[in-house]
């Protein structure tokens, strides 16, 4: 199962990268970023998965035998923070898009050529 899931994560990352590179609309580019983010999170959590083990919560599992019965909790803790920061970064990008749209009245990335050489 974890092989299917990790390949799904890599495929989502490639899909997001393709969207970032090929789309012209700024909102579509940000959607590409969020899909890339989701793919990375899936890959990170599946690296910490241990076959047939339970979630790292010690309610039924005794603390003495925890090490042999739970999955790796460290990637989960890292991804937890990464998701929240992802929301902040996405909101920041959207606000920049709002500001850019006020300047040029367009969402097409080709209309922003001020710094192009």
């Amino acid at each position: 199962m974890e092989y299917i899931i990790i390949s799904t994560g890599f495929a989502l990352m490639l899909l997001g990268l393709w969207g970032i590179l090929s789309q012209k609309n700024l909102i579509k580019i940000i959607l590409g970023f969020t899909i890339f983010n989701t793919g990375i999170n899936i890959v990170m959590v599946s690296i910490g998965y241990v076959r047939g083990k339970a979630a790292p919560i010690l309610d039924v599992i005794k603390p003495s035998e925890a090490a042999s019965k739970i999955v790796d909790p460290i990637p989960q803790a890292l991804v937890l923070t990464a998701i929240v920061i992802g929301l902040g970064v996405t909101a920041l990008m959207l606000v920049y898009v709002l500001k850019l749209h006020r300047e040029k009245n367009s969402l097409d990335i080709n209309s922003f050529k001020d710094l192009k050489w």
């Binding site: 299917i4 799904t8 909102i27 989701t38 959590v45 979630a55 790292p56």
Partner: protein, 80 residues
Amino acid sequence: MFIAIAIVIGVASLIGGYIAIHHEKLSVAVIASGLVSLFASIIFLLLAAPDVAMTEASIGSGLTTLIFFYVLNKIRQRND
């Protein structure tokens, strides 16, 4: 059993990602990207990570989609 669920969810999330990048209407694309996040939260549940699944469902799928819609709304108001 879990393998079948994983295949179905994985294919569905890839289709959602393709729609999110390629659909012409922005609102449909945003909904599709929210759907990808929702499928991802089911994947996290399969990977025995309920904490991450909760975060992804509430933040990645809920709040992100709504902020996208607020910004789309502002842009549409200005274009009118």
